[in-house]
């Protein structure tokens, strides 16, 4: 862990975050008032579909599209009030100080532009440098995400690379401006299991080397628990529990226990899997 890690001010502090969507049938509350903070560590946000975990990531970067409404008592990143920041300020924050990697590189990479040029463009958005300098930095990043032949991949188009490589390219693109915080929204869910872990290893190394904070959003509880330092468990827009990753097996909240128990295991006995019983009280409030 780098020595940027232990300052007592958190990198990101969120208090009572709410995301609401007015629809014809009434207001849909995707996130119902959650609070958490993050230092220079790996924080996992786990939840099933509809839990609000993706919305949380987007709300931090003000990427919730209209008609969604985002409110919070506090949303501070490194001393900057994210709620009061102007759109111009947010544009300087996005990419340069907080970056986001999403699930499928097929949908995040421009299909008609060479991959290397996209990375270079991401760099030049935040740094005024000559194209040759940007290309050099892009090649360095491709090497940093352990691509064996950066020159060749630089010239490739997105459809020519496999899923795992596409995701490494996304990571290169998102980390080239050297942000302080990376939000990764299901970055490996579309990948095979072994490729998933290889990509996570790269992420792990980069995040540790640079002393970054990482928010890892996923539906895979085991993966998050083995990868992150702390885990936030969300259900129906509330946080059910926050705990240290290594203590997950001792989790107290019935939802967390239910999620852990309903997973099939290789050395299970093959009997009926315990079914998660949803307590309606969970919809009302979390911690």
């Amino acid at each position: 862990m780098s020595d940027r890690a232990m300052s007592d001010k958190p990198l990101l502090a969120v208090e009572d975050l709410k995301v609401r969507f007015p629809t014809r049938k009434g207001v849909v509350e995707a996130v119902r008032g959650i609070s958490f903070s993050l230092g220079r560590e790996k924080l996992g946000i786990v939840g099933e579909s509809g839990s609000g975990k993706s919305m949380t990531g987007r709300a931090i970067l003000r990427l919730v599209s209209r008609p969604g409404i985002v409110t919070a008592k506090r949303m501070e990143f490194d001393g900057i009030d994210l709620q009061r920041a102007s759109e111009a300020q947010m544009r300087t924050i996005r990419g340069q100080r907080i970056s986001m990697v999403m699930q499928d590189p097929k949908f995040s990479l421009n299909p008609v532009m060479r991959v290397g040029e996209q990375i270079a463009e991401a760099y030049r958005t935040h740094q005024k440098v000559r194209p040759a300098e940007a290309k050099k930095r892009a090649l360095e990043m491709l090497a940093a995400v352990r691509i064996r032949d950066p020159e060749r991949v630089y010239r490739a188009y997105p459809h020519e690379v496999s899923g795992g490589m596409g995701q490494r390219i996304m990571i290169a693109m998102m980390l080239i401006p050297d942000p302080d915080l990376l939000i990764a929204d299901e970055p490996t869910s579309a990948l095979d299991v072994t490729v998933q872990l290889q990509v996570l290893a790269i992420l792990d190394d980069l995040v540790t080397q640079r002393g970054m904070g990482l928010i890892f959003i996923s539906h895979d509880l085991n993966l998050v628990a083995s990868f992150c330092d702390r885990v936030v468990i969300m259900y129906a827009g509330h946080i059910m529990e926050i705990c240290d990753a290594k203590n997950l097996a001792a989790a107290k909240h019935p939802y967390t226990r239910g999620l852990l128990n309903c997973l099939p295991k290789i050395d299970g006995d093959g009997g009926d899997l315990p079914v998660l019983r949803r307590d309606p009280a969970w919809m009302e409030q979390g911690i």
Binding site: A201, F227, G258, G268
Partner: protein
């Protein structure tokens, strides 16, 4: 080893499936052979591009271009299937959002196979099968977009069951579902198997799901079976092939040290034709291609 007496319900012998021609040939399935006794659950495990789904599609008749020999319930299969086969074997697909017709109600979806096969008493059959998969009459006239993922998958299972087959081909039936819903669907599949004495072939990338549901399994990589073993052996950590071991390690979660020891397992045998590698020139790092 599981004890299922009697002849094999499903026998596959040296199955080969090749897509495309000349330069773009992809040898998706290479010399795959296995047997499934009646009443057993057989697992096909592999990552994407391993050819596991292609085996199922060839077996079901969706892909008519294959070579080798396949026998189901004593009948040798040709490239096409007849109606009798469809009453014997049915398939459940991976994507609950794509496997139901968006403009048909659940009732219509279930009525279709009954109409095609001219079975009597459709009303009762539909109600009964809906009950068996745990959906009440409330769901009968809903459209797919009014159902959750788990409910859609139950409808897909009901649709597969309504012709009263003896074999179900399950193509990653829970991969697209939330974990809690997956548990319910897996329990449902187990219950149905016991009640109706079905034979399953389960395709999945998830080793724990296969270990939970199956009696025996075959591990596939790049189109070929690298190892075949009983689930009991898997549970005792007895897999021999390094690829299987690697899959087991990977399914336990993230372990930085273990990741460093991961290998890239390329095409196994010296079989003719290129494997399904990426189209990049060899100098670029090739990984598992996301094949069919």
């Amino acid at each position: 080893m599981s004890a299922h007496p009697g002849k094999a319900m499903i026998e596959v012998e040296k199955l080969n499936v090749i897509f495309g021609q000349s330069e773009d040939r992809v040898h998706a399935v290479r010399d795959v052979s296995f047997q499934v006794p009646e009443g057993a659950t057989f697992g096909l495990v592999g990552e994407s591009g391993s050819g596991k789904s292609t085996v199922l599609r060839a077996l079901s008749g969706l892909n008519p271009e294959w070579t080798g020999q396949m026998t189901v319930a004593g009948q040798t299969l040709g490239p096409k299937r007849d109606k009798a086969f469809y009453k014997l074997a049915q398939m459940v697909f991976q994507d609950p959002y794509g496997s139901l017709h968006p403009r048909h109600t659940v009732d219509r979806i279930l009525m279709e196979p009954l109409a095609i096969h001219r079975l009597d008493d459709p009303e009762n059959r539909i109600e009964r099968v809906l009950g068996e998969v745990g959906l009440g009459p409330d769901f009968r006239f809903r459209y797919p977009h009014q159902l959750s993922g788990g409910q859609r998958q139950r409808v897909a299972i009901a649709r597969a069951l309504i012709l009263e087959p003896r074999i179900l081909l399950l193509d990653e039936p829970t991969s697209a579902l939330d974990v809690s819903v997956q548990a319910e669907v897996l329990n449902l599949l187990q219950r149905l198997k016991k009640e109706r004495g079905l034979t399953y072939i389960l395709v999945s990338h998830d080793l724990s799901v296969v270990a939970h549901m199956c009696d025996d399994l075959a591990v596939m990589n790049h189109g070929a079976v690298v190892e075949e073993l009983a689930v009991a052996q898997l549970k005792r950590h007895e897999p021999k092939h390094p690829y299987t071991r690697q899959l087991m390690v990977a399914s336990l979660g993230y372990d930085r040290a273990a990741v460093d020891r991961f290998e890239d397992f390329g095409v196994e045998s010296g079989a003719p034709g290129r494997g399904d590698e990426t189209t990049l020139p060899p100098a670029v790092e090739s990984e598992h291609n996301r094949g069919p």
